[in-house]
Point group: C2
Chain length 332, copies 2
């Protein structure tokens, strides 16, 4: 540590780190999976503005908050939100402990392999399935169930693990923002405890920066050991009007940047846009039937209708997956 | 930037930074307001253990979570939780808009200056006062009200602003833990929106690391501008069994260290203690009638009874304010 050579190497490393910090906004290859079209340019221009000290648009590092929807924004959501096949698999796994399910809908249809029939009951049916599979265990037990499922479950179309179904350009965007001093958050309608076991490894987003829908919990001492038991009661639905409410509750600051893909994200984008100074509102538009899937106004999953109109009216950034992304998935 | 001299200076700065990181655990003067008694030794020994790479007790930086109660742990709570004089002052300020309060308890007594009479109604009276003063405005309006109040309100005994009533040894502990890579959190029964406007400046704890009790919020568009309106309904009480529930919800990781001062913190300490590996559980025991106040088992505010017994039985660290703190407040 004391030779001149070592010092020089350290100095070089230190200067390198400085240079990286200073130039991060200029290094266009932080987003290699993005085409050089308008959205990439808008993102880079935004990051340059808010990180440039002395600029009127400068945002202090502690206020650099970026919130991302998950389903359809960071990972795929078709043919159905990935938490649903998880719940369906859990119904099968738990069926032996619930002989009554044989004669009870929506479980009876599910157990006969008739997913469509089971889901014909709409939201109440889905609610029953979720409650039956996401409650009655401790939070630690549930975390293990999620990890075990993800280790073996495969996406029906690609045959890949669900955690491979993440959008490479968005992972690059998350990294780019963090390098520019942003704290990156997930604000998703999905279950908070379904996302946290893998968000840090897959997105670099730690559990304390994952916000989602949740069920009620009960603190109990079991043989003197405290546990948190998951109850079959909704605590909070983190969707639509719920997203700004959750952002205020969990973060207590308004995002500087927010990204979504559906009408469920509209209020989060409105809330972000209403802040002082420069803000960035983005939507992922699923336009790529070849590499992923094309859907928007008429889709029951990830419907993008009102938010698309508002984005156009207010000049928010709409990412056209087909035109703007060089690559969709990391495995391509 | 290119002369040898500049490089050497940078190298020295870099080496200095490295040395600081490596030695932070050994620098005993990170806690100058603590006497050299058992609690300080236990804290330093704990931090050394969990930050020493290769040690069996090593905790990776991303898992270094430290949670602190606020009232009675980070700042004083006598003669009453500071949020209560805030609410009482708000009743006076709002009285002109509520002529009906003249004949309605607990407001009528309050407006006559009879605080004791008003609070004789117990929790339901306090609940009414809090709801009448913490709801009906937007979150932004409420934040301004809190800031304005703190700028002028004075503690009845010391005549100091309430934000001066913070415990200097605990502020040093927060800093010391952050220097050792911990994320420091507040987990308080107090109102989340009452603490966030000042926690960053006063404790170095940003709003997104402040967890507290909360009321329900409603997202609304007012003349096209989105606002969050505070409703007169309880959302969550972050006390007792609620603390582990909130820690799980907001952080999603179990604390490595937790500090409280009353029975309201017992479940947080139990939850922390039940984790794998080495953990630190601490209690501030108010034993100093001269410099602050002496109270524990019989106090209606900050009662410390069951948690004191459990701390003794389980060898948790109990800080005897009188013996273990050189200084209580920064202004001494």
């Amino acid at each position: 540590m004391k030779t001149t050579r070592t010092r020089s190497l350290l100095a070089a490393a230190f200067l390198g780190a400085l240079a990286f910090t200073a130039n991060v906004a200029h290094a266009a290859d932080h987003l290699p999976s993005w085409n050089d079209t308008a959205p990439k340019k808008a993102i880079v221009a935004f990051v340059e503005k808010v990180t440039k000290e002395g600029s009127p648009d400068f945002v202090p590092p502690n206020e650099r908050i970026a919130t991302f929807d998950n389903d359809g924004t960071l990972w795929a959501e078709q043919p159905m939100y990935f938490q649903l096949p998880f719940a369906l698999d859990r119904v099968k796994a738990l069926a032996a402990q619930h002989p009554e399910w044989k004669d009870k809908q929506p479980f009876a249809s599910l157990l006969k392999g008739d997913v469509k029939g089971a889901l014909a009951g709409g939201e109440p049916a889905i609610f029953q399935i979720v409650m039956a599979t996401h409650a009655g265990m401790t939070t630690e037990e549930f975390e293990k169930i999620v990890r075990d499922w993800l280790a073996t479950a495969k996406h029906p179309k690609t045959g890949r693990p669900y955690t491979d179904m993440i959008y490479q350009p968005m992972v690059e965007l998350l990294r780019y923002l963090r390098a520019a001093g942003f704290k990156t958050y997930i604000v998703s309608g999905g279950g908070i405890e379904f996302m946290r076991p893998w968000s840090e490894k897959v997105y670099g987003i730690p559990p304390e920066q994952v916000i989602g829908s949740s069920g009620k919990l009960k603190f109990e001492l079991r043989d003197g050991k405290p546990v948190l038991v998951k109850l079959p009661e909704v605590d909070f639905i983190d969707d639509k009007e719920g997203k700004p409410v959750a952002i205020n509750k969990f973060i207590g600051r308004r995002p500087t940047l927010a990204f979504g893909n559906s009408d469920g994200d509209l209020q989060m984008l409105q809330w972000t846009a209403a802040g002082n100074g420069v803000r960035f509102m983005g939507l992922v538009h699923h336009t790529d039937a070849d590499r992923e899937r094309a859907y928007d106004r008429d889709s029951s999953i990830g419907r993008l209708n009102k938010a698309l109109d508002e984005a156009k009216a207010k000049n928010w950034t709409v990412v056209d997956m087909k035109k703007d992304w060089k690559r969709v998935f990391g495995f391509e």
